[in-house]
Structures are given as C-alpha cells and as structure tokens.
C-alpha cells in the first residue's frame, strides 16, 4: 500500500510539473515510454464524452468473484443487441478501477460481428471493481460492474 501511495504522489507531482513546465515534461517523456496512468473517472469520461452511463441488464460482465492469481483474470462482456445496421453496439470497453491505468481494452465492433461479445484475460493489481462499458449506435451508454477479490496481485 505504501508503494501505491508513493506512485500516486509521484503522479500528482508529474501532473503539476506538466502544467507548469510543458516543454520540459515533454522532453522527459519522450525517451522512456513509461507506464500510462489513467484513473477510472478519466477513462470513463474519455469513453463516454461526459455522459453518465446507465446500469442495465442488457450488458453482462462475467468475472470470477475470487481470482487466485491477479496476473490472469478472464473477463467476458456480452451485450444483448440485434447487431443490425441500424441498431448495433459500437464499442465495448473493459475498465479495471484499481489498476494504475484503469483502461484495459477498447473494442470497436461493427454489424459484421453478428453478436456483441468480447472476452479476454486481464491483469489486476489487487482487489477491485471491474467494469464493462458499452456504447450503442443510438448513443446510449451502458455499464455493468463486479468486484473481484484478488489474492495475489498481478501487476509489476
């Protein structure tokens, strides 16, 4: 936990530096492509563009409640949609709120997919909430989340 606090402070410090001295920070950032940092709120805002996501039964997220190994956590997100040209799921996003970069993956779908389903395996740094966000073609934003208990963290 101490390490996490340290990284948080470090992130805050760099953010301040970035505002104060933009040119310097760019020069520093250019060489090592360090870890991206994105909080859950920033990631969600970037996806929805300020819209408030609606909790719905249409979207389902399947994650194990207890993950023994945080390095490999299977996640499946399914959206109930006909996937026709007029009504389809534009994108599915998977977010892990407790990771230093909350954004895991953005999947842009087309009607050619036939079904709105996406599944992958993610890393989780600790016990946290995993969310799936779906953006529909009519502009609706749906969200579903589930908390996952992680016994051994998988980051780092």
């Amino acid at each position: 936990m101490q390490r996490r606090e340290f990284f948080k402070q470090l992130g805050a410090a760099t953010a301040v530096a970035a505002v104060a001295l933009p040119t310097m920070s760019f020069a520093a950032d250019a060489k090592p492509s360090g870890p991206n940092k994105m909080s859950f709120e920033t990631a969600l805002n970037a996806i929805t563009g300020g819209k408030t996501p609606v909790k719905s039964d249409k979207i389902k997220i399947k994650v194990p409640e207890i993950a023994e190994n945080g390095a490999v956590v299977p996640v499946t997100a399914t959206v109930d949609s006909p996937m026709t040209d007029s009504d389809y799921v534009k994108s599915i996003h998977i977010l892990a709120g407790g990771n230093s970069n909350a954004r895991c993956i953005d999947v842009n779908l087309t009607p050619a997919n036939g079904k709105a389903m996406f599944s992958t395996r993610i890393k989780l740094g600790g016990t946290q909430e995993v969310s799936a966000v779906a953006v529909l073609s009519n502009g609706e934003v749906l969200i579903a989340s589930q908390s996952v208990k992680v016994t051994i963290g998988g980051c780092g």
Binding site: C104, V107, N108, A116, S119, T120
Partner: protein, 112 residues
C-alpha cells in the same frame, strides 16, 4: 525485433455454414510488459512492451478494431464473434508500442 511471434486464429465451431455466427479466438505469444516490473536478477526496470492495437480484417473489410492498454495478461487472447459471409480470408494484424507489426491469416471455408 527479430524475435519470432507465435500466433494463432481459432474458429469455433470448426465446421460452420454460410451466415452462421462463429466465435473467433486470436491468441498471441507476447510479453505484455507494463514498464513497471523489475528484473529479479539485475533489478532493472523492464521497458514497456505491450500490444497497442489489434485489427480483424475479413475479405478486405475491417470488422473489429481494438485499442489495447498494458493491463492485459501475458500471452493475451482476444475473443469476438463474426458472421460468416462467404468464403475468403480472415487476417488479424497487431501493432505494439515498440513498432512491431505482426500479421496472421486463416482461410474461411463455409460448408453447406
């Protein structure tokens, strides 16, 4: 980056008809280093190396594209659905943050 990547596209079920919706698994051997981990022996930070984007192309038409960040597991698996629409080729391309590009393709042969 002369390192050879192993990747695989699996279509489930193996036998399918035209117009059917099938599952497509894309698996790739990739380290997915976040840039936060340390080498246990040398204590040096392992530089970040993770997949940036994955694209699924079916007969020249892009059906799915993904933007990927570092919190995906080592040797990731991407599973989506696809509607079979005639015989052809499914190509999956991925790029990583160091500029490595890799392409795999498989033939689509619907029966019946």
């Amino acid at each position: 980056m002369a390192e050879k990547r192993k990747s695989l596209i699996k279509i489930k079920p193996k036998k399918y008809k035209d117009g059917e919706v099938v599952k497509v698994d894309f698996m790739v051997m990739h380290p997915m280093d976040t840039g936060m981990g340390k080498d246990k022996k040398t204590k040096e930070i392992i530089p970040a190396k993770y997949i940036n984007s994955v694209k699924f192309n079916y007969n020249g038409k892009e059906i799915t594209n993904m933007t990927v960040w570092e919190s995906l597991s080592v040797n990731p698996v991407f599973t989506t659905n696809m509607k079979i629409n005639g015989a052809g080729k499914l190509t999956v391309t991925f790029t990583d943050n160091t500029g490595e590009v890799h392409e795999t393709s498989t033939k689509i042969k619907p029966k019946g």
